[in-house]
Symmetry: C2
Subunit: 271 residues, 2 copies
């Protein structure tokens, strides 16, 4: 998917919501545990109830790997279901991978080619040759960790190298890499006040913004400092939406939470 | 496994060799492709031929994820085979994971509990709360990326924060984390000259050292600057050993390459 197509969808749906599909079998409604594949059953119900309210889905691979083969199978079924039923929706493998070039190439193949995600999140620590193999795929996107939503972001990311924080070096350096036009960036909603500085370095790139909801970030602050003329934002909520209820009506409850966010987003898009 | 048990094995085998099981179906002997599970068949043959020469095996998860469900199944069979046949061998899931705490916990469960690896590699970019969930497992080890073997290591890792390089901040900061005694570190053999500085910060911790072989690092330099009284080194070779030959004798050829390294290691251990 191109970024222009993504922006079109955002305008059409008046939403830049990304829903995180982080399925924990201890948190889903117990009646689903009787299903053959409870993880996929849960995701399918959530997708069926929310696809008109969001523009992206983001399964975090940790939640699938934690269930071994069954988990990996559920991940395959989930991405196949989205790609088949809702090809207009942008898909993100939240995998935070990154390795030497030879190895990153295998990860890129796994997520962008075989599983056919539109994008994958990648960690920057190993530098240029660990990220470029992901950037080679046309109309696919590499979402580089810049400034993450967690407390640990202050351990290294905000430390200063030659009067400039590490995450700003990541942003600036990454712009020089081959196929940098395929880069997007993770910036946590909990650090919205950093966004105006970030926009000076990457004025147009899409940002994937986690941390609204369970982690406490503010949607309006994110929009105030981070929104571009063509929006340039995907705001993610995972637990705040998918675990809105754990009874039979869980999918409808999730849709209500998603709709509340979508309505706030429509207001921001008009402003 | 405890580090004392690992050191015992090193002394017993006169080897601190780790063999990287990075299976690429384009590189393995073609006669194996007829097998039900060519990846496992390859690994089993390599393990059977080399287990007496090495103290650790390190499958890199990228090479398994690249084959989807079949790959994940082969990874499970490989670790189960090692744990059953050779429980004295230290196992490393080279996964380079790292996410917010809630999510890192799922990865830790996947690799250290369900798959029952002795250790997992983790990226430091997201800081303390992204790593500590891995450190909670008793007698399991978290191998933190410090200074990696690739060229991209110079993009961020060696940049200077307040007169000290990023990787040194990673080493020093990580020592303050809960259960830091379960930390080991990745330091590339291609950067052996950095090891004496690194040993000033972490005098005793085990280092996983990739980059000998295909990447060009020197074993004797690594030992000169990095070896401790209780050795403290696991030197990895992947492609240099497992792809020594791609004909019927591939496992014997791999064993010869492994033995050559083991013999060099025995000399270093006596020195």
């Amino acid at each position: 998917m191109t970024t222009a197509q993504l922006t079109d969808q955002i305008q059409k749906k008046q939403s830049f919501l990304c829903i995180g599909l982080d399925v924990d079998l201890n948190k889903i409604p117990t009646h689903l545990l009787k299903e053959d594949d409870p993880i996929f059953a849960f995701n399918k119900a959530i997708i069926d109830a929310t696809h008109h309210l969001c523009v992206a889905y983001k399964p975090n691979t940790a939640f699938y790997e934690a269930y071994g083969l069954k988990g990996w199978k559920a991940l395959e079924k989930t991405i196949d279901y989205i790609n088949e039923k809702h090809p207009e929706i942008f898909t993100i493998a939240d995998a935070k991978r990154g390795d030497i070039g030879n190895t990153s190439r295998m990860y890129a193949k796994a997520f962008l080619e075989d599983l056919a995600f539109d994008s994958v999140t990648v960690a920057p620590y190993m530098g240029k040759d660990s990220v470029e193999p992901f950037l080679e795929f046309k109309d696919k996107h590499t979402i580089l960790l810049a400034l993450t939503s967690n407390q640990g972001a202050f351990d290294f990311q905000t430390k200063t190298i030659e009067d400039k924080e590490v995450y700003k070096h990541v942003l600036e350096t990454s712009k020089t890499w081959d196929n940098a036009q395929n880069l997007m960036y993770v910036v946590g909603a909990t650090k919205a006040e950093f966004l105006s500085d970030i926009r000076k370095i990457i004025p147009e790139a899409f940002l994937l913004v986690p941390g609204v909801g369970a982690q406490g970030g503010s949607l309006s602050e994110v929009c105030k400092y981070g929104m571009t003329k063509s929006v340039g934002l995907l705001v993610n909520s995972s637990r705040g939406i998918i675990y809105a209820s754990n009874s039979e009506d869980f999918a409808q409850s999730a849709a209500k939470k998603a709709q509340a966010l979508q309505e706030q987003m429509a207001v921001e898009l008009k402003a």
